[in-house]
Amino acid sequence: MLNFILLIFIYIGIYAISALGLNLIVGYTGLLSLCQAAFLGIGAYSAAVLMTAFHFGFWEAMLISGIITALCGMLIGIPTLRLKGDYLAIATLGFGEIVRNIIVNWDSVTKGPMGINGIPGPNLFGFMFSSMDKISWVILIWVIVGISYYFVRRIVRSRVGRALEAIREDEIAASAMGINTAKYKIGAFTTGAFLAGIAGSLFASYNQSVAPLTFDFMMSIMILCMVVLGGLGNNYATVAGAIIIVITSEIPRLFGISHIIPPQLNQVIFGLILVLMMIYRPQGIIGRVKLNYAKILKKEILHLEK
């Protein structure tokens, strides 16, 4: 049981990292993106290819795949300059399908539908993470969750965060205030994708394998659900959302009734929870927490004056 619970927390951590990235895009910048799973997939596959075909170590692979994913994020960020609202959502949806399609078809690199197996774990100063040893994985992943959390928090609590918020509120007014909206929107996508790339490389390394079916539209939706269910524009809530969604989908297994109730029923319950949650808490369980920059600044400035 312990192992199983630890495993759930490993998954929560991986999803939380990419959900934090998505929160930056959807929650703070207000751009609806439906391709976070594609970013996760790009990250996972980059890491998998780097580690298996080119024998990179995990840490280099993680960083490089983060960067590769960030570049892809930059690419999909470009349409945001022209597309608004749901039109952008559709472009990202299409992009997600394209990525999945390419992963399945690019046999020479991605091994096609078979996926890539035998991906090694990280090696930290001689300590090998094995996927059997869950405690160390939980620690590793939650440390990275912590770093990501701090990273996103630094962004949103700064001048940049205010700019993103202004873009979400009113893009035209923001550009009339001298904010380079293009730069920030692409920046949000790039950063969000980077985090998804990191999460993807952890995903690949922990599971020791990647397969193309994994990174589908439903996964993007799951990650979006985490962000919305917790509360848009609230990092704390995003992590909580990840915990809720993953645990909800594993409830039958946690209670040991997964073999008693039909698996479809499990999904039905999940859908039902989603609908009811939206009807009764449309703003999310925790909701948006509006940062008060005046107060943040005051605090920081007092600190400075000392």
């Binding site: 495993l7 539908p113 939650w142």
Partner: protein, 395 residues
């Protein structure tokens, strides 16, 4: 954040204390647990459903025969949705929480390859009824399969088409999934090696149901025969659309065709399609009994993979029965290594799917049958085995 983390950590510690000890003992009054791992929802849900039903039949049979030392067995079905990230929690749960002694599964090769190391590490005998990828048996001592590998099937069929049927040109249409692609690629290599010519290779995506574009292109290439190494829903579609497009070539397929649903979906179009499958004793009583039981219990017919699932389940249950012993307090003691060794020694096991023998690494030693569908029934035409490079017909 800090609060959250501290709650998490204390939760983990709590569980660590609560379920600390490992054991290979089944307490009296409890059941011997085995697992089934496969897609129960989603596109391929039907394959998982049929196979899991077969395992349930096997367990019932085992229990009816007295179980192991009076202990009954029970199968826990876990859904993988055909996805690696869903299969991982499933096997962790089976291994960590339920402490199963064997797993029938997984269905897809990609998933089996991903979960195999975990089964190996937990010393769980895993017998896959349908993962045909050639690398699977090498994943560990505890990993077996009672379905023949793509490589074997494709090689035999490649030789058969070139040598026996004397086909010169072939087009291949396969779905981009682990099963179809493996077969298609191995077949192509073998057929070309035999001097045949593959005039067109067309692919489609998992979930596609419209193959007219590909078939139109294939029609343009004008092959003598078309090879469809896919699952039934797609094959039925391909056969029908081929007919609609007026394609006159001969159709060939692989063991995916053995699902009796094809007879329903494709109707008369299934007639004359020649396919490969692990050879079975057509008259085997065991198979007839199983099919009767299955039909009575579930109201539908099993497919070839279900036969494998049934055999796999019984092989591991028999191994448990043979190696377990009564321990103190009326408990049943099961030694995982012994179970594994017993399974590995399986030789000429008389199963519903035919004679089953495992190779040293856990693969199936199989005779390959050439089958066809005729008047809504499957019929075995010939049987071959591979002797080195040569195809040897078994009379």
């Amino acid at each position: 954040m800090k609060k959250l983390l501290s709650v998490l950590i204390s939760l983990m510690l709590l569980f660590a204390l609560a379920c600390g000890k490992e054991s290979d003992v089944v307490k009296s009054g409890e059941t011997i647990k085995i697992g089934f791992l496969g897609p129960m929802t989603g596109d391929a849900g039907n394959y998982g459903k049929l196979m899991s039903q077969a395992v349930k039949v096997a367990v019932e049979e085992f229990n009816a025969a007295g179980g192991a030392e009076g202990f009954n067995a029970e199968v826990l079905v876990e859904d993988t949705e055909g996805k690696v990230e869903k299969a991982n929690p499933a096997i962790e749960k089976l291994a960590g929480v339920d402490k199963v002694f064997g797993i029938v599964g997984s269905v897809f090769s990609s998933v089996s390859l991903a979960v195999a190391p975990k089964a190996e590490a937990s010393k769980i005998v895993m017998i896959s009824p349908s993962s045909t990828h050639k690398d699977l048996p090498e994943k560990g001592k505890f990993i077996f399969r009672d379905v023949m590998s793509d490589a074997l099937q494709a090689i035999v069929f490649g030789k058969y088409l070139a040598k026996v049927e004397n086909v010169k040109t072939v087009a291949i249409l396969y779905i981009k999934n682990d099963y179809s692609q493996g077969l298609a690629m191995d077949f192509k290599a073998q057929f070309e090696k035999e001097g045949g010519k593959v005039v067109a290779v067309e692919t489609a995506l998992q979930g596609d149901k419209d193959f007219k574009t590909q078939l139109t292109k294939i029609k343009g290439a004008n092959p003598e025969a078309i090879y469809f190494p896919n699952y039934v829903a797609e094959i039925a579609q391909m056969l029908e659309q081929s007919k609609q497009l007026g394609i006159k070539a001969k159709f060939y397929s692989a063991d995916g065709f053995s699902n009796p649903q094809i007879l329903e979906l494709a109707g008369d179009l299934a007639n004359g399609v020649i396919y490969t499958q692990a050879a079975e004793q057509p008259t085997s009583q065991k198979r007839k009994d199983f099919e009767a039981k299955y039909l009575a219990k579930w109201g539908e017919k099993p497919d070839a993979f279900s036969l494998n699932a049934y055999d796999g389940a019984l092989i591991m249950l028999n191994a448990i029965k043979a190696t377990s012993s009564k321990a103190m307090g009326g408990n049943l003691k099961i030694d995982r290594d012994k179970v594994r060794d017993f399974v590995a020694k399986t030789k000429d096991y008389d199963g519903a799917s035919g004679k089953i023998t495992f190779t040293a690494n856990g693969d199936l030693v199989a005779n390959i049958g050439i089958y066809t569908a005729e008047n809504r029934k499957f019929k075995q035409l010939k049987m071959f085995k591979l002797d080195g490079e040569n195809l040897v017909e078994i009379k």
